[in-house]
Structure formats: C-alpha cells, structure tokens
Symmetry: D3
Subunit: 284 residues, 6 copies
C-alpha cells in the first residue's frame, strides 16, 4: 500500500496547516498554560466510523512537540464505534492543546472519506466491479484522499495527469479521431502506461476498441447504452463508467458487468466524522 506519509506533499500540507492555525503563536495556551505542565488526552469517536489517518494525526502532534506520545489500539480501516476512545495522547499540555484542532481536522476528513467509501462498496459486493475515485479531490490533498479511498476499500484511478492517459473528447478532436489519438499517445509515452479513452456513444466505443485502447470509459451513458457497450467490448478492454454515479444506482450499474465505476463524490462531498479530544488529566 502506498505510504501516504512520506510524500513531500504530505509534509508541505502539514506545515501549511500548522502555520495557518498557529501563525505567530497560540496566544491562549501560551499565556495560560505553564511551559512544563503535562497532560493526557483521549480522542473519542462521537459516531460510528471507519477510522483513517492515525499515523498522520501522530505526525501532527509530533511535528509540534517531538516528546508527545500518541498511542492507539486501532489501525486505519477498522471500525470505531461512537463513544470509543480512538487514540490517547500524552506529553506537554501546551503542545496537546495547540495541536489538537489540526490533528482532528486531518483525522475527521480522512475518516469521513474512508467511511463513505466503505459504505458504498457494500453495493458492489456480489459483482466484479471495482469502485474507484477520480481527480475531483480537495486541492493539496490528492495523496491523502486517495489513501483514504483505499483504506475504505475502494480503489484509485490515476493519481494525477502524470501517471495515466485518459483521452477525452478535446484530445480526440485535436488529433482527428480516436485511432490517431491512441497511436500518438502510444508512440510518445513509456511502455508502462496504459491508455484509456473516454466515449459517449457506441460508435466511439467501437473506434476505441479498434484502436486497442486498454481501458474504455463510458461517460454519462444510460443503463441500456452501458449494457450494449459491455457486450460490444466483450472483455477486450477494461470498461469504466463515469458521470452522475450516485449511491442508489451503484448496485444496478455494477450488475452490468463493467469493471470500474468512478465516483467523484467519494472525495469531494464526504462529510467529516465527528471526533473530539478530551484532556483527562493535567499536572503542572
């Protein structure tokens, strides 16, 4: 599983997050909490959820104060129930209070995405379809949100514009047809990159097949079109459906025999999981 923590983008986002919250200083804590006071806190789930981002939360606390200890009995992807303690932190009280909000803000968002992904993959259980995310992620959060999608049990589409080819209508127009586009892409790119073509009609599906596209995306097609396309393609390429995918349609869509269902809402419209931190002990 890709290690989302060691990417430089994760480090930059943590810096940005702490800078924007702390700025020139946590004036409440630094005015009121003695430098050497110690504390112990618990991060508690206030709703059932798939937890995600525990190592990231640890990193945030430790980035603020290396001596803070972060302990958890959970690993990312496990279910936590409302009222349960997800993790406990201990160390400098000032550090705990200053880092609390940023750590929770990371954890609540990633857990929200993992929880949403887990819920939606239930609908696909009896099919061979895979639920995948899109590039509709929160700017700055690509690696993190795609990690949460995997933790939730769904899969990733390409990470960005650099690691997969998706040929859309405007690319096709620029090349004068699907065949030209696919050939040109294959000529210009590494032999390790697969080529996906976006189609909106059965005629385009046929062209993509003839061009030997590795993956064919059916964009905003209705159920009948999808069935026709799947039949036409007949396992000669992977089939992805995209556009207007909502939770209630997932089971039916998956039963058509498509390989991949991509859903932007997995990342762009997940609600945060309700988590809070309570200081349960403090000494000076």
């Amino acid at each position: 599983m890709i290690d989302y923590l060691s990417c430089s983008s994760t480090k930059k986002l943590i810096e940005l997050a702490l800078e924007e919250d702390i700025g020139s200083g946590d004036i409440t804590t630094q005015s009121l909490v003695p430098r050497h006071a110690l504390g112990q806190g618990e991060i508690v789930a206030k709703q059932d959820a798939i937890i995600c981002g525990l190592d990231l939360a640890r990193l945030v606390f430790k980035r603020l104060d290396k001596t803070i200890d972060f302990k958890t009995g959970y690993t990312d992807g496990q279910t936590v129930y409302a009222g349960k303690t997800v993790a406990s932190v201990s160390g400098a009280l000032a550090g705990l209070l200053t880092a609390e909000r940023t750590a929770l803000n990371f954890l609540q968002r990633l857990s929200g995405i993992a929880t949403k992904a887990r819920r939606h993959i239930q609908s696909l259980r009896k099919t061979s379809a895979t639920l995948v995310d899109t590039r509709k992620t929160t700017p700055g959060w690509r690696v993190l949100e795609k990690y949460a999608v995997r933790v939730g049990g769904a899969a990733n589409h390409r990470m960005g514009l650099y690691d997969g080819v998706l040929i859309k209508d405007n690319h096709i127009a620029a090349c004068g047809g699907i065949l030209n586009a696919v050939n040109l892409a294959r000529k210009n790119l590494s032999h390790l990159i697969k080529i996906e073509v976006e189609t909106t009609t059965i005629a385009e599906v046929r062209e993509a097949l003839e061009a030997n596209a590795d993956v064919i995306m059916l964009d905003n097609m209705d159920l009948d079109q999808i069935k026709a396309a799947v039949a036409q393609i007949n396992k000669k390429a992977l089939v992805e459906i995209s556009g207007g995918i909502t939770a209630d349609k997932l089971a039916v869509l998956a039963s058509t025999g498509v390989d991949l269902i991509s859903m932007g809402a997995l990342t762009h419209s997940a609600s945060a999981v309700d988590l809070s931190m309570n200081i349960i002990q403090q000494t000076q």
Copy 2:
C-alpha cells in the same frame, strides 16, 4: 473584506495543487495537443449555487499559462442557476485542459461552502444572531474556507490560534479558575485582543461575567440553559453558542437572543457544487 488571494498560504496551496496533479507532466495533453493549438471553454453550473472563488480559478489558469484569458459576468456571492455559464476561458488549449480540473476543484469546494452558509443564514433572518464558522476547516484551506463563509453571508470566528483568545476548560484548570485565567490573559496579551471564555454551566457563566470576559461561549447547553445564560449575562458580554448546532435547530436557537452561533459543518461537511468545463471551440 479580507483579500484571500494575496495571502502566502493561498499561493502555497495553489502550487501544491498544481504539483500534485501535474507532477512530471500532463502526459495525455502533452502527447496529443499541439503546443500552439488554441481553445475556448465554458465553466457551466450543473446545479443552483452561490458562486465563490472566481478570482482564485482565474489565478490557477494564469499560473499555468499567463496568456489564458478568464472572463466572468459574475462576482463571488451571486447566485448562478443550473445550466448557466459561470465563466469562459480562452487561450492555449493545452493549458486549458491541464488546469481545468484543479481550477474546478477549488471553485466547487468554495462554492459548496458559500452555498451552505447562504442557506443557513436564512434561518436567522428575523433575529439578531450571527452565524459564524469555527476552526474545523480543511487543513491548508483556512483562509479560503473562511472567505467562502463570508461570501455566503455568515461571519468568521477567529482565523486561528493567534488572533483571538478562547479560554477552554483545560486552560481554566491550568490557571486555577476562570478569574485567574482571564486576568492572566489580559496581562500577557495585546490590548487589541478580546477574551472569550467557554462555559458549560450557569455557575461558570457567572464566573466569566465576574471576570469581565468580552465574550462568553455556552458549550453544548440545552435550550433552557441557553435562555437562562442569556438572561444572566444580560448584554454585559457577547454570547456565543457552540456544539451540536444543526440546520434544523438554527431558528429556535437564534430566537433565544444569543449573539453568535458557531457551526463547524459550515466548512467541514459542505458538499461540492457540481460544475464542469466544456471546450466549445478549438483550433490548431
């Protein structure tokens, strides 16, 4: 109104966003679209929404390619209706295609927050209560999300830990009481900073009043407690309620006479507005 675009955090987030999506290059576009091809595109709303982030979207396009032109007849805060063109972009086709997703990702999130804020402030119209956000924002997005809240018509609580004092239970415990905490804060901080105290009981409200807190927050109190607290405070401090605020309770809570209602979901659980970009013309 605070200029959200000129903050260094906004610039860093745009860099992060373009880096994570483009990486070593948009291999599809760069393989298929001639360097000198031109295009024109339209950003279209696919649902009714309060639009927010237009200048930011412009900045993303221009960051990628200075020669791209971004035109809009809207300003942030206006309502756009489903099917309407929000903005049009023109210039290098490759630039338009490469920047599209990142620009839309910013726009759809900020518009989602502004739309949510606008909807909720309707509930407060006949009261003197102000709806405010919290620090439960997406890490890296503090300045942007607080801007969207204002655009939607709600107001901002403090920006971060650096520009306002909010004394919570653990700070109080560290100081041995509300009075000590407020006095210590006043002694240590600039004379331009107001002091807010979080309370959970009427007894604490009374202590905060005696300490001359500028603002008193009633944390997770029920309706009766809130009414009692408002009566007790009697305009001698601003009153904020916080915790468990949901859309359906807003009107009733506002009618109690509180000054401020803070709601984390404004920022942490807003859904993205559905927007898309269509290339309507391209030439080589």
Copy 3:
C-alpha cells in the same frame, strides 16, 4: 508567554542567517579544524544587560550540529553583569566556531532590545501606563523583537496587520468619517478583534468615543492635548499615545493617565549588547 521559537518565521530566519553566513562552507574552519576535534566555549557578557534569546542561540548551535550542548544558568529576562559567563557550549569544535557568529548576532540584538525596554519601563513605575512596541520592527524579526520587548518588561501592540484594527486618517477618509469606519470594521471582522482609532484632535477623539472605539490613539499630541483627551475619554476607552516618544518624556507622559505609550525606538534603534564567545578548551 508566546513561544517565539516554534513559529515558522523563526525557523526561516535561522535558515536564512546560517545560509548567508556559511554559504558554500566555512572555508577557514573546514580547512584547519579536524572533523573530530572537540571544544568548549563560553559566551561572556562584556557589559551589563538583560539577556534575551538564550533558547534561540541554543537552536542555532544545534541546527548546525545536533550534538552540541548548550548550558546556561540564566533565563531570558535576567540581568547579566559585565564579565559574567552567560552560557557555555561544548561539542564539535568546527561546529562551535562556525555557528558562533550567527548565534551571537541573534543574542546581541534581542538582548539589546530587552535591555532598552527594561530601562524605559523604570520611568513608568509609579503610573498605570504600559509601554508598548509598534510595527516598526526589523523586517523578518517581528516575532523575535516583540518577544524581546516582553522579556524586557514592556508589552506588545498588535503583532501585525492581521490581529488588530488600527483605523488611521486614510482609512477614515475612505469611509467618510470615524463613525462609518468603526461600524464597517465591526461588521466585517471577527467579534474577538478590538478596534482602535487614531486621532489628532480633540474633535476626532470625541467622534471616536461616539463610535464606541475600544481604544483611542492620540497621535503626536502635546501634553495639554493629551490631558484634555484623557479627561474627555474618561475611561470609556483605552487611551494610547504615539509619535515622538523619547526616553526623557516618558515619565511626564505616563503621569497624564494614559493607558498605553507606544515607542518605535524600542525595536528599530536598540543598540546590540556586547557579547563574545571564548573557546576555553580544545582537543583533537
């Protein structure tokens, strides 16, 4: 007390300082001092001073070489007398010699400011006036110099343009009067931010009072005007005087009953304290 060390601006300034001094390498030390030679040094005060910046000096040494040990019997704000050892450092001789100048440069400047602040607050001892700094700080040094001011015993005005409102003549002109300006600010800003208005005449003082300004600044007023203004304001707002404040006038000005006296020279014209580092032992 605000932790000046954990701000990202402090880290950036330390990097900048070491880069500008060391560049591609300390060619003297690296040519002449064996890599494994050890040394022990003492930082000695060559004049009486209020010491300030000890933890920062430690950070500079450790940033260069994690294994250097920095010990001191002093804490920031204490008086050190000429000839006394302020701190001792030990570890890699090369590291000690390379970091010496940068560490002393930080220490001598912050101690200079703390010393100056301590001297000036003597003049205010029998009054209720507080001596505060301004935004006339050395670019890049805002957080550090404001820390030194506090260590010296004076207080801070706002940290920057982001955490306090100070309405000056041009803002007033842009809004068409003090009343409009104060109302507009209150409407646009967080409820935790106080509003200060700069005035130059008694008429303006009156207007600011009517607008319920939280703080009224008397800019460059003479002693009689100040007395009149203090009488007029009559505790309904905090009173700050600013402009042309020199050491010899402090006592008289403070006796007028003003709350705050701001003085740019605290930071922009403090002389460095004379400190030096002697290597007292070295072995290879």
Copy 4:
C-alpha cells in the same frame, strides 16, 4: 557595485517581512478601503540622512501590487534633508497602506546604516585607512547591510565564512601554530582567496609575516602596540585593526598607518532614520 536586490536572500527576506506583517490579511484596510480606490503618497524624511534602499522599497510596494508606481529623484547614497520628499508612490490605495510599514522598515534601517557609515568615514579623510564592516550583522540582512555600508562610503570585509579566510586563535591552536595554519589553508583553498591572520601580540604578528599572510589583523591592541605592529609589518601585508573601535578613536587609529579599521557597530548598532509616508490624495 554588487546588486543587492537580485540575491535570493533578499527575495526571501522580503517574503518573510510581508508574511509576518500581513499574515492572513490587513484586516483594517481590507475592511475599510474599497478595492478600486486609488491614492498617492509621499515618503518624507524627518531628519537629515543618507538615503539607502530606494530600489528595495520599490520592490516591496511592487511585490504587494505590481501596478503601484514608485518615483524618486534620489539615488542611494545621496543626502536627504529633513522635510524633503524622498519618493512618491501611487496606485491602489489599499496596496499603498498595506505595504507602507514594511517598505519604510527596510528603508529606515538601511538609511540608518548608510548615515552612520558616512559620518564615521569623515574621521578617516586625511588618512589612507579604510573603514570596513564585520560579520556582526542582523541575521538575515547580511547582503543588505553590507550594501548600506558601501552606500555610506565605507567598505566591506568578507561577506561570510565562504569567501575569505580569517584565521583566529582557535584555528591556530588546532593547527599547532600560525605557520602551519596558513600553509594548510593555502593548500586547501582556491588560489583566489586571500588569507588573513588574527594576532594579539607582536610575536604573533611576526609569525604571521613569516607565514606570508596576506592580511594581518591586530585584535584589540592598544595604540602603542598598533604602531609597533605597523612598523614591523612594513607594507609586507595589509594591516587591519579590530575590537573596541569607537567613533571618537577613529581619527587617531587611522593616523597610525593601518590599512583597515573594522567596526561592528556600523551594522549592529545603527539607529533607524526617521521617515514617514503621507497619503496626499485618495479617490474612490
């Protein structure tokens, strides 16, 4: 003359300066000044001074708002008299107000150093001695302060540890004598780097001469020792004196025939020049 503006350290310091002052936004200006209001301001000297940093001040205004126009009839190094307008700025009123303090903070400090340098070189006029600065500069400001020293008419010692060799007592001890140290340095370093040796006794001066040091520094020697050393060296190396140099001793010291007199106070203890900006016109 070295172009102090194009160094990356200057750019970083400007960013740091604007970030620390503006942070998440100039809340006063952005709340009160309409986005499209225009203004014109004058930067006025409130004391006689050698002006220094005009191009830097222009850069600060333009960094905030590219459309601001900065005009001046002066060039760095000229004398400005109290009451005179040093430069005029025009453009977006909000930009002028937000950048004002940072621009002035740069200008007042560099002008302070140039003014101090100009004053001190008067004492050396009838001698062949050159007044030089040291590495006792404000961390982060090395290139800028050394520029101001040159503008004032004094000269620069080495820029940092990387572009000149200064062998001090601890380096000598590590090498087992001056001769070994000089030889080792010459062997290890580029043929374009000169070698200076710090001495405290006439015996050491003699050793340095024998080692063919390019420059010999007399550290904290009294007048008689200096005269003896100058006689001993007899033009076979450049002679620098350093340590405890104060304004009143300059003329006498210079008359001893030394080549260079280094003075840390040039940079570490210069007072800021009093400058202010007045908005003389504003329109909406």
Copy 5:
C-alpha cells in the same frame, strides 16, 4: 511531448543553479560593468551536435533579467554544426555575463545526452527495437534528462518509482514468487499502470508469462538466452533487455526481436557538448 519546462522540479533546479553560481553576487561583473550597459552575444557550437535545451537556456537568461532577448533559428533536436551560431542573446550586458555560464551548463549537458541518443538509435534503424533510458539519471535532472533522451530520438522508460511497476528479485522474494507478486501489484494499483517483471532465467520468464506480466525484462542475459526468451514469450508480452548494454552490441541485440533496450549510459555517462558564448557588441 511532455513539457519539461513547466514542471516544478525544473523551476527548482534553475533556482538552485543560479543560487550556487551567483550567491551573494557576481562580484566581477557588478564591480566592472555599468548597470545600464547593453550587449549582444552569440552562443556558438564548437562541435557538431544535436542541440537540446534551447527553451531552458532562454528561461535561465530571462530568470536573471526579464528584459534579455533570446533568439534562435533552431529547435531542439536539430543538428548544429561546429562553428555555427546556435542562438543570440541581447540586453543588459551585466545580465548576459552573469547568466552565461549557467545557461551554457544546462545546454551543454542536455545537448550531450541528445547527441548520444541520436548516435545510438542509428544502430537500431532496421529493427523494431526501441532504445530507452533508465532511472540512472543525474539526481535533480530526471525530467530534463528524459526530455533530452526523447529529443535525441530514443524513448523513456518510467519517469520514476511512481508511474510504473518494475518487479525485481527482492520484490519477488518478499511475495513468495512471481505469480503472487504480479497478482498483488494488480490488486493494489490503478488499472492504468502496466506491470513489468525482471527475470534472469528462462524459468523466470515462463513464470512471468504465466502471471500475465505486461512487460518482461531480461536482465543481463547473453545473446542465446535472449533469443530463447523472445521465442518463449512470442509476443504475449513486451520484451525489454537491460544490463551491460554498450554501443557496439546494440545492433546485434536489437536484431533478436526484443521490443526495448534500456541503457543507463544514455544519461549517466554522456559528455557535454562544447558550446561557448561570445559578446559581439557592447555599449554603455
């Protein structure tokens, strides 16, 4: 073709290059060349070469001084003959002299790689084999060197560890066999990523085939083994050979029917092309 100039890594490398060469200033030019002197220069090839990096060289000059004009009649990939002028530059003389070395250093290295690639692909002309690079690039130069390889006419293997799967012996050992490794990779990764397996024996080739690897690499096999492997694979996967590929073996190896020949020396051991810049006119 991937736009190598707009990657953030290219921008960072240009900054690094100018910083390391210019540091605190080009002391020769800035001391001797008047600020307003203008000049015109020519970049001349001193040997036949495939030119590569022209836009990058332009960027370096313009990064130093926006007003410098860079003109060329060549485009990357064309042959330039010894003695010919590759490009001409005009503008501020100081800027031309300061940027010269860095611009040439970029140009000479990229042209060296393109020239080497062009020479080697001649050996493959009558075969269907493609010459590809490896990850053995100069650290910091990945995107640039891979661009030069394409300009020379060879092709790129994966850009980095993030956009292609290459399963080596240690990965296989960690998974307990090729089949397990390929299946696990397919399960964990985006459907757009192809999977390549490194093999050293015919038995391993067979296993890789059974696992449906997309590409099979024959590592350090001799000619007979390669022929046997190609026959075994029989177009069911792409075949790459790697390890110990030297110029003299290319034609023979290519004739075996392999699809890809990877050669680290393309990037890690290319000699620089000899280029120089002459100022042909200067005026003050």
Copy 6:
C-alpha cells in the same frame, strides 16, 4: 576540507532527487514489500574506482528512513577494486529498495569525477602545476562536484561568481582597459578577494602584470605563447592556463612552469562509475 554535506544546496538537491524519483510513492515496493520486512544489502563496485560521496549516500538512505544503518570500511578518496563491497546497508527492506537508485546515482557520479581527477593528476606529478576545475559543473551540483574534484586530488578554482574575481575580455572592454578594470575591482571589493585577469596575448599579459593582477590566466594560448608568458610574468603573479586542455596534453603543459591548469571536462564530461546494490538477506 569543506564540508559538502552541510550546505543548504546539498539538502535541497537531495530533496529534489527523492521527490523526482518517488513522487506520490514507490508503487512497486509499497504494493509488494510488507511494511515491517527487514533487509541487508551490499553496494558493490563493478570497476576499479576512487570512491566519493559515501556520507552523501548515507544521508540519502537516512533521509528516507532514519533507522537504516549504513556501514563502510572506506573513506572518500580511497581506491575500490572491481567486485569489492563498498558499503553495506541494513534496515527496513522497503526503505532500502526505494532509496537504492537515488543513493547510487549520487555515488556513481561523484566517484566518476574523483576517478577522473585522480587519473589526470598523475600527469602532473613531477611538476609544480596544480590541476583545477572550472565553473562548468552540472547545474545544482556545484558544491558536490567541486568536492569530488578535491577528493580525486585536484584543486578548486573559485566556487562561483561570488568568491573570486576573474576579469574577462568583456569586463575589460566595459572598463576601457585592464588597468582600469583591476583598479576598479580592487576599489569595490573586499580586501580578501584576489583578482585574476584573462589574457589572450603577451601584450595583455604585460598589461595585467602592470596592473598588479594576483593571477593571470592564459586563455587558449599555444605552447610557445605559454612559455613566453611564463617567462614574462616571472613569478610576479600566479599563472593559470585554460581552454582546450585535454588529457594527453597535460604533462607537456604542466612542464612549462605554469601554476594552474584548469579543465572543464573534470566535471562536465566524467563518466559514472559502475556500482550496484544487492540485497543479500531479507526477512519479514
């Protein structure tokens, strides 16, 4: 010897190198190697070489994973023979595999330069001439490549434009002659900087001598001219020859009595040394 590891440019280059190779993650290793698997590897020389960059390679491994242990019996500058183990690494298997290529890429390039330098200095053994590098280094690698040159036994010319003066024809033209140029440089620069003048004729050599240049470079002169110039200069300045220096001419050129021979190919055209890493043990 200058510590090449602690320069900020080295740190930035390591970051750039790891970012460009790992990007959003090492998808092969992270998919296939269990997080807690351990391994041990050996870095083996596949040709005789002067090893250089061992501490840098260690830094790369540790930057990826602090717990990796890097052991070596060699120090930079020693000869390693083909087949010998240069260093061994142990720790997290995933970290070893992900860092391998970047660490080797650094090591193979620096060792290539050191090996080339060592070979060439043999030709100068019986002379007093010193072989020096130039500024023709790989952009971003200045400090590293100059370190490798020293490790190989040759010497460094100036590090960059900031630490040495080299007056070329265009500088001379801008000043109206060599004498003016040298005098102007001496006036403007620190007394620790030596001045070198580039000459192409004996007449220019004479002018440079009269101007008291510290070093005189003979640019592209033939053997007879060089001999004449050396005689003319007669030890009154250091003599450097430059331009068209190839390996086969070194001995003859050195025998002319010149002090310095500069050779760009030392850095811009060194071939990489062949090194590889084998995992010799792995456990889960």
